[in-house]
Each structure stands twice: as structure tokens, then as C-alpha cells.
Symmetry: C2
Subunit: 332 residues, 2 copies
């Protein structure tokens, strides 16, 4: 077993496409062997630069990300792309798009693309993105591009935990759509106005500037605004240049480690939350038992608040401390 | 303490506005006394009908919800409104809107409105919505309207757990915006096409119909489509009628309890997840300790995967079973 794991790890580190793909499927599905694999791979991570890119639907994210990947390939850097798009099972758009994008880069083994469109009951999309990043990083990719639709808090959380976060806007969206974007303005290290040949690009730039005048970042960095026309490759080299400048800034100001610590703080909490629930459900509460308890609550034969306390007291080591103290602690 | 709690519960049950408002603040903030309060209140819940309404920004949700509330007041039923809108701290739109809406209903003690715009680190928005629903239900509100912006999975999860889920669409939004809505089509018990005096209402209706032909629900209900112009009150009484019809259908088919069990199943899991993390962080991992561990991970002196296993093994009762078994279980 150890030998098989070791040889798998070696092949991933050598960047073997099939070994990487199998590792990604394994961690995405949270299969039993994924823990040992991730532990072994983590030692070989930390070298890749992780860039998160987000924007409203229709902002041209995929095109921009593909162009940016090409630019990095021109610089002879290898690229992993993780496209997070939890669309409906009705549409299946992400999976189709993934196939099309895969074909466009097919000849180039220096690019690896993975879409993640599904989402488990245990809210595993953030965890899965972290784990897939670990695999691609250990697999030797120099640059990892994480692309999300910036419409939900989960997607924002995912992209926010990159080393560099790029928010993509477009001219000509109504005020209603600007509301969606409100929550993602603060997380931008760099703004991109894509489709900037459209009318209204200057207005978008002015709006960003006026927002920036209201908020000063703790790291004193003022997010630059880059205008691109991704479909024609305009502004892409400039964007890559600004990303490098920001990295340089973080390094000069000794902020890179600080940023990584902040990010790991949040990831660690998420990992603990997911792993705790997974263990509780796996060891103590099979589906049938959850269904039975839900039935008792629905029929008002039990209150869920006391039930949760009881289950947790039984699951953790704190029962012997007595009910009163345990009850007190739950509320804090 | 017991007497103070009892008198608080009594005042909530009598529908006293100030007692209800204080209870909502208490449970929203997760203050220590909230557990005992919620346990006491749960016994008096289950009478209210919970209606979830969601739609893209600009769909006219607030106006529709306000009009529906008025309709229910006309029927002499009391109404609680929970508006979930996690917008940016930059805009503060939700809080402002809440004040304006409060003023519109100011004279009527039969309506209670609460906006929830903030979101804690522990992802407490779903939990908070459940808890506020418990307070309003115990407080004697006949109808509870939960309104969310249908742009993220969290918001969809919140509204999906209502007894009746209404999805609000509008004509004339581009295909890009339709993408946002894709994830919420499956959860609709009733569709509303609001602003239906605009061009394109029939097209939206056809689109819904063609999607419906692809999917048959397990409860055999075909979600009706209601056209409204909420700003002029058109179609609102019809919507209330259809909601009542759906309730009737659920009751006749013995599906109401089944639906409640399904919903409580998911809520219970969420409550367990949040409570477990809260207890772990509160009892074992103060902020400073999390920051220290995050630093060790960021510097690659520890791998997060082993760390999570160690913390959880120490926190739960399973350490004495030995590391090997514990390790195996984590992966399952």
C-alpha cells in the first residue's frame, strides 16, 4: 500500500497527466485513500502561484482565463485551471464548456483544466478546490488559475483564498446586476474591465475609483484597473504583468506569508467543520437514524435544539463534565 | 432565571413586538441564552405556514412580498417577513431598504419585518433564518415569508427549506442572467412571472413549460405559473390562492409531514455541523491557537490534513480506539 501510494505520488510530482487526473478524482470524491495522498502531497506544495478570478455570468471569465493561461505558457510556465461553476443539473453547461476548453488546449500537456460543477450535501466545494489545488501544486504547475462565477458567497470564499484575486467586470450591465457584484468588490487585488471596447468602460472605471476612495486596505495596496478585450487577447500580457507586480509588492512588504496565514486560518476552520460532520455522520448517525430523528422533530416529539446538544455531548469527550456545564458551553 | 425565561417566552407567545424583537436579536447573535430560549419556544411552533420566495436581483421580490403580506393581512392573518440579503458592507442597501419597508407597515402590529444582511464566519445565515422562523412561529405569526436573493447556493438552501417555495422570474433579462437562475428552477413549487406587463412574459412562460416537460417531480405536482405586476397589486390574490391550493394538495396526498421531515433532515445536519465547530473552537481552539497552527501550515512545518485528524481525534471520544482505526474512519 505504502509503495503504491509512493509511486502514485512520484508520478504526480513528475506531472504525469493520468496520475494527476486520478488524484483529482480521488480527492474530489473524498475517497478513503485521499487523506494519505493529500498528506504525502502537501510536503511538495507551496511553489505554485494561485490566482483566483471571479466575475458575474457573462463577464467573459473563461475566455480571459484561457488567454491568461496562453500568456503564461508563452512565458514557459505550466498552468492548472480549476473552473468552479455550480450550475444546475438542468443545464449541464459547465461540463460541456469544459470539454470544449479541453480540446482547445489539447495539444499542450503544460495545461491542465478541471471543472467542478457539482456540490455535495456537506458543502464540499471549497474543500474540494483546496484539495485539487494541493494536487496541481504538487504536480508541478507553476500557476494555478481558479475561476468562479461571482454570484454566491461560497464562490467568493473560494476565490478569496487565492494568493492574488482578480475581479472581472464588464461595461453595460444594468444596476440590478451591479448588486450581485457588490459583495465581491472588496476582495479584488486587481480589477479587470473586460469587453472594454464596449460603451461604458470608462464609467465602470470611474465607479471603481470612487469606491476605492472610500476604503483603504490594510496592506496599503490600491488595486489597479486593467482594461482587456479577452476575445482578442488585448490587455492580457498587461494583466500578467500586474499580477507579477502585486506578487512583488507582497514580497517586498513581507505580506506574502501574512496573507497565506490568513488564508490557512479560514481553510483550517472549514476543513475542521467538514471533517467533524463527516466523522459524526459516518460513525454515529447513519442516514436512517438522521431520518428517524428528523421525523421526531417534524412531529414535534423532540426539539432539535436539545437533540443537537445531546448528540454532540455524546460525540465529544465532554459528557463527564456534567450536563450543566456542557449546556453552558454550547451557547457561548 | 427560569422565571425570567418563562416570562419572556410568555410575552413572545402573546406576540409582544419588543419581546419578539429581543428574541430575534438574541438568536441571530447566537448569545448564550439563545439555546434555552429556542428549546422553550420550539414546543409552541409548527402552526405557521412558511413560504420561501426567491429570484434574481431586480425581479421585484420586496414589492411582491410586501403585496403578498398585505393580501394575508386582508385575510386577517398575521405575517412575519424575513428578508435575507447578504450584500456588501459597502452598499448597506438591505438595512436601508428594511427601514423604508418597516415604515410602510408601521401602523400594523400584525406584520413583523426583519432583514438579515450579515453573515458570520461560521456560515450562520441558514441557522439564523431557522432560529428566527422558530421565534416568529412561536410568536403566533400565521404566515412567515422568507425572501432571498436567488444568486447563491446558500440563499437557495435557505428558501428551499420552506413549506412552499416560490421562484420569481421577470421578462427581458438576458441569457446571462438566466444562468444565475438555472440552479433555482428545480426548487420551485410555484413560479411567478413578475413585471408581466413587460414584453417577453409569454416567452418566459414557454421556457418554464419546456423545462417542466423534462422533469417529473416525485410528488407529481406541476408547479403553476402565475403572472403578476406586483407594483400594481395584480395577480397577488391569485398567488395567495395558489399557495393555499398547494398546501391543500400536500395535505390531501399526505405529503406535508414528509416534506417537513425532508427539510428537518437537512436542517439537523446543518445545526450539527455549526454546533460542532462552535464547540470545538470555543473549547479547544481559541483564535490565537488557530492563528499559530495556520502559521505552521503556511510555513509548511505541518500538513493541514494530519493536523485536522489529530485535532478531531483529541476532541471526540475515539482516541482510545487507536490511530489506525481513527485514520481509516476519517476517509470514509
Amino acid at each position: 500500500m505504502q509503495t503504491a501510494l509512493q509511486s502514485w505520488v512520484d508520478r504526480i510530482r513528475a506531472g504525469e497527466m493520468r496520475a494527476v487526473a486520478r488524484a483529482i478524482s480521488t480527492v474530489e470524491d473524498g475517497r478513503p485513500e485521499s487523506r494519505d495522498l493529500l498528506k504525502a502531497l502537501f510536503n511538495f506544495t507551496g511553489r505554485a502561484r494561485v490566482i483566483g478570478l471571479t466575475g458575474a455570468p457573462g463577464a467573459g471569465k473563461s475566455t480571459l482565463v484561457d488567454q491568461l493561461a496562453r500568456e503564461y505558457r508563452r512565458q514557459e510556465r505550466t498552468v492548472g485551471i480549476i473552473a468552479v461553476d455550480p450550475t444546475s443539473p438542468y443545464t449541464g453547461g459547465a461540463i460541456l464548456g469544459d470539454r470544449i476548453r479541453m480540446q482547445a488546449h489539447h495539444a499542450d500537456p503544460g495545461i491542465f483544466i478541471r471543472s467542478m460543477a457539482t456540490r455535495g450535501n456537506l458543502g464540499g466545494l471549497a474543500r474540494a478546490t483546496t484539495d485539487v489545488t494541493t494536487v496541481l501544486d504538487a504536480g508541478g504547475k507553476d500557476i494555478i488559475l481558479i475561476e468562479t462565477v461571482g454570484v454566491g458567497q461560497d464562490e467568493i470564499d473560494i476565490v478569496r483564498l487565492a494568493d492574488v484575486t482578480v475581479v472581472i467586470l464588464v461595461p453595460g450591465m444594468g444596476d440590478d446586476v451591479q448588486t450581485i457584484k457588490a459583495g465581491i468588490m472588496e476582495i479584488a487585488d486587481i480589477f479587470v474591465i473586460n469587453k472594454s471596447d464596449r460603451e461604458g468602460a470608462d464609467r465602470v472605471e470611474r465607479e471603481i475609483r470612487s469606491m476605492q476612495s472610500l476604503a483603504i486596505r490594510s496592506d496599503k495596496w490600491t488595486p489597479p484597473i486593467i482594461k482587456t478585450v479577452a476575445s482578442e487577447g488585448q490587455g492580457i500580457a498587461e494583466l500578467a504583468g500586474i499580477v507579477a507586480q502585486y506578487e512583488q509588492y507582497l514580497r517586498q512588504q513581507d505580506l506574502l506569508l501574512k496573507k497565506k496565514i490568513t488564508n490557512w486560518r479560514e481553510r483550517l476552520i472549514e476543513m475542521l467543520r467538514d471533517a467533524l460532520l463527516e466523522r459524526l455522520l459516518g460513525q454515529r448517525l447513519p442516514d436512517a437514524e438522521i431520518a428517524r430523528l428528523a421525523g421526531e422533530i417534524a412531529e414535534h416529539r423532540r426539539d432539535p435544539y436539545s437533540l443537537v446538544e445531546e448528540i454532540i455531548a455524546d460525540f465529544t469527550k465532554n459528557t463527564h463534565r456534567g450536563g450543566a456545564e456542557a449546556r453552558e458551553k454550547v451557547g457561548t
